[in-house]
């Protein structure tokens, strides 16, 4: 680890070969959950009704808890002395490996639930596969997380039906959210050299193969919710897995990391 604090194991912004694919891979899984969990926590005290405020905080807690265990494992794999806190609070935007979808701002409740549904449907498929991988520790974390995310999916799926097939206003907002977020969904199913590089650890999840199953589920809910799926024939956004993020992540991290960075090592 250099004095500047940047890890040589992180590819940074250039598409250079990744030195430690397993570390990168774990950051991707963990950062999806950390960033989405933090986003959801922004609703705390602002939910439209008390039950939803509690639900969003509960889902946030699950995601942040999943991230903590995954980052702890990532820190050990990296072997540079970074623990989960160091990875969560002391990395810069360009070192985050989450998909762009999860860093998108909460918007209205329809936007938040649509983002959650698109992610949950992906997550239960992905984690379901990961739970069977040959890396025992990662498989165990995935097997635990898939149970939690399945519970989330039921909730977000029910909200898609309620919002889409609800009032004119709720339908319009859910459709608008789907239209805005759709371009961030193809990135979830990208398969690159990092996915290939972890094959030696017994991890062989074919993300591309998950997409048809995801489309089936999302399409079914959209149909029942009287929502129309946006076209894939539009510019799709990508870059999060390599540290190239939308403008929103930096702002979110400044909020999330300020206390830890202002008071290094503080405990309370």
């Amino acid at each position: 680890m250099s004095a500047a604090g940047a890890s040589p194991a992180v590819a940074g912004t250039r598409d250079v070969p990744v030195a430690n694919p397993l570390f990168e891979y774990l950051l991707r899984v963990a950062d999806d959950r950390l960033v989405l969990g933090h986003r959801l926590s922004e609703w705390c005290g602002h939910g439209p009704i008390l039950e939803e405020d509690i639900a969003l905080a509960n889902i946030a807690l699950d995601h942040v808890g999943q991230a903590a265990a995954l980052l702890e494992l990532a820190g050990r794999v990296e072997g540079a002395g970074r623990d989960a806190d160091a990875l969560a609070y002391l990395r810069d935007e360009r070192d985050f490996r989450n998909a762009l979808l999860v860093e998108q701002p909460n918007g209205d409740f329809g936007m938040t639930m649509t983002r959650q549904f698109l992610f949950d449907a992906y997550s239960v498929l992905y984690l379901g596969e990961l739970a069977g991988c040959g890396h025992a520790e990662l498989a165990a974390l995935a097997a635990k997380a898939v149970k939690e995310d399945t519970y989330h999916l039921r909730h977000s799926g029910e909200w898609m039906l309620r919002l889409g097939d609800g009032t004119e206003e709720s339908h319009a907002r859910a459709q608008a959210a789907l239209d805005v977020l759709w371009r961030f969904t193809s990135e979830l199913f990208e398969f690159d050299d990092v996915d290939e590089g972890v094959g030696v650890h017994g991890i062989h999840v074919d993300r591309k193969a998950l997409r048809p199953r995801w489309m089936e589920v999302v399409g079914d809910i959209a149909k029942r919710a009287t929502l129309s799926l946006p076209s894939d024939d539009q510019p799709m956004a990508t870059g999060g897995r390599r540290g190239r993020h939308t403008e929103h992540l930096g702002h979110m991290l400044s909020d999330m990391q300020i206390v830890a960075r202002s008071h290094p090592g503080a405990s309370w």
Partner: protein
């Protein structure tokens, strides 16, 4: 330490007196958080597994377990966190479930019977059967919120005795 080390059974008995801080009628052993105990000359190692990934009570449980063993002369208490096999509410024994019910929390149903093999089935499956009210036993209940006051509970309402109650989620 001058006295003889505690046996494994003695340690488990002590831990069985440590209650879940959020559901104080059941112990951390009954909850299934304690997976194993290993005894060294002056130390005890406890293997634990979290209920939910983000459950904030796990730290308090560790503090309480440590305090209970230190009070009995154990010098060093270590914890090892394991994730496999994933925690399930099926591990909670029958008598602990009855104590849960007695304190106004509907105990979890059986996961093994209720879970579909395909996680995506949650989107199409019919709603689960109503949870019996822990106060009056009626099935005339409805879910008010699938998420409750803690990560492990959901909120229900009984239309027969007109009372809200919590359910320990089956997972």
């Amino acid at each position: 330490m001058t006295t003889a080390p505690l046996t494994r059974e003695e340690v488990l008995h002590i831990l069985d007196q440590v209650k879940d801080p959020e559901i104080p009628v059941i112990s951390v052993v009954e909850l299934g958080v304690v997976r194993d105990v290993a005894i060294g000359p002056d130390r005890v190692k406890i293997t634990i597994t979290p209920t939910y990934s983000g459950c904030p009570a796990i730290q308090m449980m560790q503090d309480d377990m440590r305090a209970a063993l230190v009070a009995r002369g154990v010098e060093q208490v270590e914890f090892e966190v394991v994730y496999a096999p994933a925690w399930t509410s099926d591990w909670i024994p029958a008598d602990a479930r009855e104590r849960m019910r007695g304190s106004g929390i509907a105990p979890p149903g059986s996961v093994r019977e209720g879970r579909a093999a395909e996680p995506l089935a949650v989107l199409t499956r019919r709603p689960a059967a109503p949870v019996a009210c822990p106060y009056c036993g009626s099935d005339e209940t409805e879910v008010r919120s699938p998420f409750g006051s803690t990560a492990c509970k959901a909120l229900h309402f009984c239309n027969a005795c007109r009372q809200p109650f919590e359910e320990f989620k089956a997972t």
